[in-house]
Symmetry: C2
Subunit: 141 residues, 2 copies
């Protein structure tokens, strides 16, 4: 089974009909590590799919979020990024190179003493600062 077929199967298992545009969008997001914006996805796929509309990108991303196959990363106001990794992890945004980098978060290390009685369904952990390579290069990397 090709990787494409595997992504199609994931969509089907989540009641999303794997149309060609949807499969392209989901594959791109799932194989990307850069947490792209809707616009970046649209631009990246535009070459191989000149008829693709942005509405389809937005529609597909909203369906993926609804079915919990993707998450919206609002680490920056006015910059909606998307991530197909729905496991708990943190996001670090470097203020110099603007890259968003994943980091592991171990749930058991977060204290929940003060959230007794709350049903916690989603967790976002956003850090900002300077990444190691920008500390060396001064952000010019």
């Amino acid at each position: 089974m090709t990787r494409r077929e595997q992504w199609a199967r994931v969509l089907q298992e989540n009641q999303i009909k794997p149309s060609y545009p949807r499969l392209c969008i989901y594959s791109y997001l799932a194989e990307s590590k850069s947490h792209p914006t809707a616009d970046e996805i649209y631009l990246a796929l535009h070459d191989e799919m000149p008829t693709l509309s942005k509405m389809t990108v937005y529609n597909t991303l909203n369906i993926l979020i609804e079915k919990k196959l993707a998450r919206l990363i609002s680490i920056e106001e006015h910059e909606a990024r998307y991530d197909a990794n729905t496991q708990l992890h943190g996001h670090f945004k470097c203020s110099l190179c603007d890259r968003v980098i994943d980091f592991p978060v171990q749930d058991q290390y977060i204290s929940y003493d003060n959230l007794k009685g709350f049903d916690v369904m989603e967790k976002d952990i956003f850090f900002r600062g300077i990444c190691p390579s920008c500390k060396v290069s001064g952000g010019k990397a």
Copy 2:
């Protein structure tokens, strides 16, 4: 010294001239626990200050953020909320009543093993789910 005068002093200590609109906006934010949006601040102050413009609210909030007297809470896309509590703490948004509730976060319980070499300057911890009172009332409280 009145509370008003104390907030004015905080502004001055941070090189912000405590004009009447600025003092109103900062006092309101500092004494609020509801993490208001710019629009909510504007509406709340409009009665006692009919000439207030929204631009002043936005300007003042941006100055407060710049001087680290307030933080932008982007727990929800397309809904910029503000918080004058700049100490590390988490925000929980109830999906039923839409309230944003603070919860303590103990920094030492977050594992940083995988952030060696990163300069972490800002931390946002956003949880979503159902709050205890909505669990009882079904969100109708």
